[in-house]
Symmetry: C2
């Protein structure tokens, strides 16, 4: 089992309110919106930027800054040990980390379906706060919209983020070259399997939990040590590692070869994939990254990862090739070879 993400248990009881569900009026931009925000949101995320209460935040940024966005529509919004709020912070933090950046500031935008219970919203806010604290990012600007019952699904969250590019980072698809090693940072497919287990009512029979977590601290230390020898970082969320590897092969016009035996996966996740009829290569991850690194440093890179949280099961799973450009070829555990295509159609809708 990979090391579990230790959750901060925040001691933040929900404030007393004169409403217990969110209504259309809370999205009006008027009195009720202000009431909703004042009822804890501003207090929970308090900082100098939010205190200005303007339409945006004015930040001191570095000349090399990464900028990214993600909307989260996961269903269910609560899953063992975590929720859509924590996921929404970690997801955008990780996208910034994949750009070689140190995440600094996040925006937070809610689309709430009328009728969401205030105590559910509060739990989500606590998830956001907890993830923001652990990843060391500030929520500096936001937006709240409410849509009628049946025109949304409980809550959708968009987070966008900015972060300073690490001084030694030179992450670009153009730096990837034949011979580079492909490393996966930890066991794969846990997020997708955890969510599917909840959907299928199996969550009480399994200990598999989403691997949602912020990868920025780990990535930052790797960049400190390996700098420009890290050619590319990608987090294999929707579509799994198969899709990310296909994107690399396509965008670089090179081949990718991987070995099934080297791909780390928890036994329980593997078993659940079989029960649920899922190919783990296509299952979403939320706390894992793929690194393409110079072959000279690959062993040291894995050793370093194994010494850190979130990297105990790191493994070199393959390499970039000049042969079979734009194709991902897998050597199976019984030494057969097959082409791994990009995810076609939809395996697990609304997994993030």
């Amino acid at each position: 089992m990979s090391e579990r993400n230790l959750k901060i248990k925040l001691q933040c009881p929900m404030p007393k309110l004169d409403f217990d569900v969110i209504t259309l009026g809370h999205g009006s931009g008027g009195l009720l919106t202000n009431k909703l925000l004042d009822s804890g949101v501003f207090h929970l995320f308090d900082n100098d930027y939010l205190r200005e209460r303007h339409d945006g935040a004015v930040l001191k940024l570095d000349s090399q800054t990464a900028f990214t966005t993600d909307s989260f529509v996961i269903s269910p919004i609560f899953f063992p040990d975590s929720n859509i709020g924590e996921l929404a912070v970690n997801g955008t933090v990780n996208d910034l980390a994949m750009c070689g950046a140190i995440p600094q500031y996040l925006s937070l935008s809610f689309i709430i379906e009328e009728g969401l219970k205030m105590n559910e919203f509060w739990k989500i806010l606590i998830g956001i706060k907890s993830a923001a604290d652990k990843t060391n990012v500030k929520i500096v600007t936001g937006d709240t919209k409410v849509v009628e019952k049946g025109k949304g699904d409980k809550i959708f969250i968009n987070t966008s983020g900015v972060g300073k590019v690490h001084e030694h980072a030179q992450i670009s698809i153009n730096n990837v070259k034949a011979g580079d090693k492909i490393i996966v940072s930890d066991t794969i497919a846990t997020h997708g399997v955890a969510i599917m287990s909840v959907r299928e009512g199996l969550e009480f029979e399994t200990a598999v939990k989403s691997d949602t977590r912020g990868l920025n601290h780990v990535v930052s230390k790797l960049l400190d040590e390996f700098g420009k020898d890290i050619h590319l970082l990608k987090d294999p969320t929707r579509g799994g590692i198969a899709t990310v590897l296909n994107e690399i092969a396509r965008d670089r016009n090179h081949g990718v070869k991987i070995s099934q035996k080297q791909i780390p996966i928890q036994n329980e996740v593997n078993a659940l994939c079989e029960i649920l009829g899922l190919d783990p290569l296509y299952v979403a991850n939320e706390g894992v990254f793929i690194a393409v690194v110079d072959s000279r440093i690959s062993e040291k890179f894995v050793k370093k990862l194994k010494s850190m949280d979130y990297g105990k099961n790191a493994s070199i799973i393959g390499e970039i090739t000049e042969s079979h450009p734009r194709q991902v070829v897998l050597t199976s555990s019984i030494s057969g070879k097959r082409i791994v295509n990009m995810l076609a159609g939809e395996q697990l809708p609304r997994i993030c």
Copy 2:
């Protein structure tokens, strides 16, 4: 009638596709998502940042940069001469302008309900492209999610944006002081009335169109000339000018007095407000801003505005007072006085 926003008619026919509606698979992150994006999105918004096809964009930013976010859930998604895509760009551009910033880069995130017609999506993309071109911003990163039929409503769009703060801008609620003049840049309430007209089936009997437009070029010229004498800028979207003025009074702990006679409104909009039972002070605007400026420059400021597009009907509507702190007091056209509260409840759901 205020000057109409001249729409750029882009000559971008929709590419030929082997699908005509968007399905769950288009949100999978896999092959279909790539197909959807390659089918014109990347081509339409093409730039160096998007071409990297990474999880985020690395930008050269100024040390003083504004950052903002907004989700757009307007219904209907198409309205006379415009659509949710154009609105989503202009809305975030305007939020940046209100921070005294020159908008530069936008993120673009879609939450699409399964079944959206591809030709509708294309029209929205054209709206985005047209607004981005006019306001001189680049779309540099994005995300696409698809939810099941009945779990969304056609399309929701989040745009977040960053922009360089104008070198002469010193916009802050803390700079607002008693005696400052309050200026509205153009006729109010047109956006809300235009949308309500469509909802009520009145759109063929009226020429009122949404005032959605990017205010950044106008604001930038005003900052060139008046710099730190512009104390605050706010765009009165949801909740209308009444809500924005109440926020100013509350956040600055001062009073606001305004004169009904000085508030510019098109006759037709006023008449439709009466028919629809709306108070124009609470009706959403999308192409208007409120400026709080030093009284010394207020006349010159209005004169300058009147000389520019989008400011022909600019007017000084009132001032900041030491008396009646946290209250907005209106002198009516028949010289009565009344307190104008913040919008309570919901007047026009999903107006932006």
